[in-house]
């Protein structure tokens, strides 16, 4: 029995030492003192939600590989399952994560996904045209080249005009001096007479710069009346930019006038994600404050959460990446079953190809999120509830052990009150002076102000200052007295006794010849005084006889 008592005492002491002061010190504001074993379901939900958030975040920040992300997430969940015995330690973190951090994580995820898809869209969106499309144009071709100048493609590029006509053009660098622009129009494979161009790009002297890194952009436009070639060349090495224009007037050809002009509406551009707002209007918070959670038992907490629909919240959280990816496509482009619609023209073939790849990517993301979602739902609603329905019904007796908690709480409350008191004492100087108590009694306030400002006649000093000086004088006297007492305590001499001795010695030195003790009792006292003289006994005096010492009465 003694051993059991000791064990219980040790457990209680360890709990007190480990939990209470540390918790108070770190300002833990939750029901950390609540019973530690009944929060299984609730904690599981919390942990799973945090897992979901952290898992996605980990994916965002660390893993671009979906397998790694998924495996990491599952491992994390398994790890957390393993430490569920320490729910009490985790609960504050979890509550905070739910209430405050999750929203930040969600926003982080959204920002990341925006950035990621912006980079994709930047690949998809071609460079803006160097010049606008002129009216009456029936064929256009843009060209962008980036790299070493002497490696630029010099083969003919074919641009379909229609009705059997093809526009061919190319660049060539001849004799290492300049670029040459060559173009012709062919009808059924034969060059049409008078439709051949062979001109220098005079504005850019190539010279020894043929190995420089550069960017070359051009746009060729064909109409019934002219072939126009606009170009821009940026030399990255010399940081110079050149531009030019070659215009060749032509006669209208039979069969070309039937071809309709290109309209500007055919040039589809994909707007960037920044211009597409992502709707985050959904209530991502549970709309509960940490303060509201305090002191609630599990049932009332669950009731509160149910009212705010935790399940919906979790669904929204799990759907987040999907909804974000759904919403980042520009409004005029739709993607269904891997097909992109809303993009017109052959110019966008590459867009279609890349778009399909990215659609597959999105589908993979969505699949993974679905798997995670299913796992988490299983996690929330396990088929078997652990130990809740089994075992013996102990009735009211199971409450018997609450008595230990009652004692425990009383101790904790006492400690907490002490800590709060100290906090108030330390905080009291920060309270500003105010007149709150005199709000209803303005005349008293006037009186106080009058007295405080009252100047003593003849002196340039107020009554308030006089009080303050008096206070300080008495305060210093008090301090000095206290220090004196402390000193005497330290040296082990009673102050009263010391003063008494000093007085006696004074009497002895000043009245030795006049006041002679008249009996043996006085003699003893006198000897005693002499012996206790701090300077030591007077040897000459001590050698005298009593008669000599005390005269005739000795």
């Amino acid at each position: 029995m003694k051993k059991i008592k000791k064990i219980i005492a040790i457990i209680l002491i360890i709990q007190m030492i480990l939990i209470s002061p540390l918790s108070v010190y770190f300002g833990v504001k939750n029901n950390v003192y609540a019973e530690p074993f009944v929060l299984t379901g609730l904690s599981m939900k919390f942990i799973a939600t945090v897992c979901a958030s952290l898992g996605i975040l980990a994916f965002i920040t660390e893993n671009m590989d979906f397998e790694d992300f998924y495996n990491g997430f599952i491992e994390f969940v398994e790890d957390v399952k393993g430490v569920l015995d320490f729910q009490q330690d985790l609960i504050s973190t979890i509550v905070n994560a739910i209430i405050t951090s999750t929203k930040i994580e969600i926003l982080t995820i959204v920002e990341y996904i925006k950035e990621y898809f912006n980079s994709i869209v930047e690949e998809l969106v071609p460079e803006p045209d160097i010049v606008e499309t002129y009216p009456g144009v029936k064929a256009i071709h843009n060209r962008n080249y980036e790299g070493q100048l002497d490696l630029i493609e010099t083969n003919y590029i074919e641009v379909e005009i229609g009705n059997g006509y093809v526009l061919n053009y190319r660049l060539d660098y001849q004799t290492g001096i300049k670029f040459k622009f060559l173009a012709n129009v062919q009808y059924n494979g034969t060059t049409v007479d008078g439709y051949s161009i062979n001109k220098w790009l005079t504005d850019y002297p190539l010279g020894d710069k043929r190995t420089d890194d550069a960017k070359f952009m051009s746009k060729i436009q064909f109409s019934d009346e002219s072939i126009i070639f606009d170009w821009i060349l940026v030399n990255y090495k010399t940081n110079q930019m050149f531009e030019g224009n070659i215009t060749e007037e032509i006669e209208p050809l039979i069969g070309l006038s039937d071809i309709p002009e290109l309209s500007t509406g055919d040039e589809v551009t994909i707007p960037k994600i920044q211009s597409t707002p992502i709707s985050l209007a959904l209530p991502w918070d549970l709309d509960i404050d940490t303060e509201d959670v305090l002191g609630l038992d599990e049932d009332s907490f669950l009731e509160m959460i149910n009212n705010e629909s935790l399940e919906n919240y979790l669904d929204r959280l799990l759907d987040l990446p999907k909804s974000v990816t759904d919403s980042i496509y520009p409004p005029d482009i739709t993607i269904e079953d891997g097909e992109i619609s809303g993009v017109e023209g052959t110019t966008w073939d590459d867009v279609l190809v890349e778009g399909k790849e990215h659609t597959t990517l999105l589908e993979r993301i969505a699949d993974r999120i679905d798997i995670i979602s299913t796992d988490i739902k299983k996690f929330f609603n396990p088929d078997t509830t652990p130990d809740d329905d089994n075992g013996i019904d102990w009735g009211n007796f199971k409450n018997f052990f609450d008595i230990f908690w009652i004692f425990y709480y009383l101790i904790i409350i006492a400690i907490l009150l002490l800590v709060k008191f100290l906090a108030v004492v330390m905080d009291i100087l920060s309270i500003p002076a105010n007149t709150a108590l005199f709000d209803s009694y303005p005349t008293i306030l006037q009186g106080i102000n009058y007295i405080k400002g009252l100047k003593v006649g003849g002196f340039n000093i107020t009554l308030q200052q006089i009080f303050e000086y008096m206070f300080m004088v008495f305060f210093f006297i008090y301090i000095v007295t206290t220090l004196q007492k402390l000193y005497h305590v330290f040296t082990g001499v009673e102050r009263q006794e010391l003063r008494h001795n000093q007085r006696d010695i004074q009497i002895d030195k000043t009245s030795f010849s006049n006041e002679i003790p008249s009996n043996i009792y006085n003699k003893k006292i006198y000897d005693n005084i002499i012996m206790r003289d701090p300077k030591g006994p007077d040897e000459e005096y001590m050698n005298l006889s009593d008669e000599e010492k005390f005269g005739r009465d000795g």
Partner: protein, 107 residues
């Protein structure tokens, strides 16, 4: 009115059961009190009183007094802590656990 023994025993058990059931009620109340203490704004309550005292007596006297009280409380706590530690370390009850602890950490 007559009771047989089993009835009396039953009544006794019921009474015990009621008392025990109240344990959890008391416990819940204490938990609530604990949470309330945690969140209660003690400084806010004393603000008008302390502020008025500060206004009336002036900054100098208030500051000196409060600092003195703070220092006195600090010294008191230090002394109490020292005595508590002294009591604990010199107590016969703690001797054996201390020995175990010392052995454990290898002192």
């Amino acid at each position: 009115m007559t009771f047989n023994f089993l009835d009396l025993f039953n009544m006794f058990l019921n009474a015990i059961g009621d008392i025990i059931a109240n344990f959890s009620l008391v416990r819940a109340q204490l938990e609530l009190a604990l949470a309330n203490i945690n969140t209660f704004d003690f400084t806010g309550i004393i603000t008008p009183y302390v502020g008025t005292i500060r206004y009336v007596c002036g900054e100098l006297i208030f500051n000196v007094t409060i600092r003195t009280i703070q220092i006195a409380i600090f010294i008191g706590i230090a002394k109490a802590g020292y005595q508590l530690v002294h009591m604990l370390t010199s107590s016969a009850l703690i001797e054996k656990p201390m020995k175990i602890l010392k052995n454990f950490i290898g002192l």
